[in-house]
């Protein structure tokens, strides 16, 4: 196997072109799937026998919560690559993903609170799942704050990579919190190995929402990494030429 792709990935220009080709496909597909999943989940999925219609919040809550954690894992992988191989593009991924992760974590917490009120009778409890998820939000805020306070580029890359890697310990805590501690939060709805305990017309829209939100996220990371590239490589000839064309690759 040739390792050239690994070197290409480290080249900002190569990635800019790749992102240019894929971003609108991913964003379009993501938005389409989210629309289909929402309409299906809101109007066509049958109401839950215990929770009635409030269970429909699941179609936002679960995808945003899954993504909030995947986004963090992606940042951690980028942080590791950045520390070991000193690839400058890996730091751009951390910069691009942190605000998105914060947004999705906020949505997971918000929809969880709104769902908790009619289901548990309270907006918030300090139990393991909710608290560890709140910690994830603070980790995202921490990365964003750290990045805005350090101006020296290499130092900023190193510091945020270390912060992200230290925070990774929180991810298994979120995942297993519902098993390790007694919590109000129910266990996972989906696992990779078992058949869901829901009827198909309930979980299919959920699956569509999950795929949709991954597509949207990937598209948004591409657009935001492109912005980082433009900002940091603005003195290079190819970015200057690109700017003359209004930001289009060719």
């Amino acid at each position: 196997m040739k390792w050239t792709f690994f070197h290409k990935l480290g080249s900002p220009k190569w990635f800019y072109d790749l992102a240019e080709r894929w971003q609108f496909i991913l964003l379009g597909l993501g938005l389409l799937l989210l629309c289909v999943g929402s309409v299906w989940g809101l109007f066509f999925a049958p109401p839950d026998y215990q929770q009635g219609d409030s269970f429909r919040i699941i179609y936002i809550h679960v995808p945003t919560a899954i993504l909030a954690q995947s986004c963090y894992m992606m940042m951690a992988a980028a942080g590791l690559v950045g520390l070991v191989w000193k690839m400058k593009i890996s730091d751009m991924f951390i910069a691009a993903a942190a605000p998105l992760g914060a947004g999705f974590t906020f949505l997971a917490l918000f929809t969880g609170a709104v769902w908790g009120k009619p289901t548990w009778g309270t907006w918030w409890v300090w139990d393991a799942r909710l608290t560890s998820m709140l910690l994830l939000l603070f980790l995202y805020f921490g990365v964003i704050a750290l990045r805005s306070s350090v101006t020296q580029v290499e130092m900023r890359a190193k510091a945020s990579a270390i912060l992200v890697l230290v925070g990774v310990v929180n991810i298994p805590i979120i995942k297993y919190s519902v098993e390790w501690w007694n919590t109000l939060h129910q266990p996972a709805t989906f696992t990779l190995t078992e058949k869901p305990a829901m009827p198909v017309e309930m979980w299919l829209p959920l699956l569509i929402m999950v795929i949709g939100i991954y597509c949207l996220f990937t598209g948004l990371v591409f657009v935001r990494v492109q912005n980082e590239i433009l900002q940091r490589e603005q003195k290079t000839k190819w970015v200057q030429a690109l700017v003359e064309r209004g930001g289009k690759s060719r």
């Binding site: 929402s38 109007f43 009635g52 409030s54 998105l100 657009v223 200057q240």
Partner: protein
């Protein structure tokens, strides 16, 4: 299987939007999520537009400065 869109005694498709006592919670969740997602999608494109304008302006400035230096007596 009877979905949420159905004709019931209250009549019509209107019932689909009325999620009983939980309607407020459901619509609040979807509404806030739609707002946040729209912001997350639109923001990077707005940033891009401004960035391209700024980089372009900076280049023009640099070129003009160079020209002034060259034309200086």
């Amino acid at each position: 299987m009877k979905g949420a869109v159905s004709l019931d005694e209250r009549g019509g498709i209107v019932s689909a939007f009325d999620m009983g006592t939980h309607g407020l919670y459901v619509w609040l969740s979807y509404g806030v999520s739609a707002l946040v997602l729209f912001f997350l999608v639109l923001e990077p494109f707005k940033v891009r537009k401004k960035m391209i304008k700024d980089i372009h302006a900076k280049r023009i400035r640099m070129e003009q400065r160079q020209e002034n230096l060259n034309n200086a007596p």
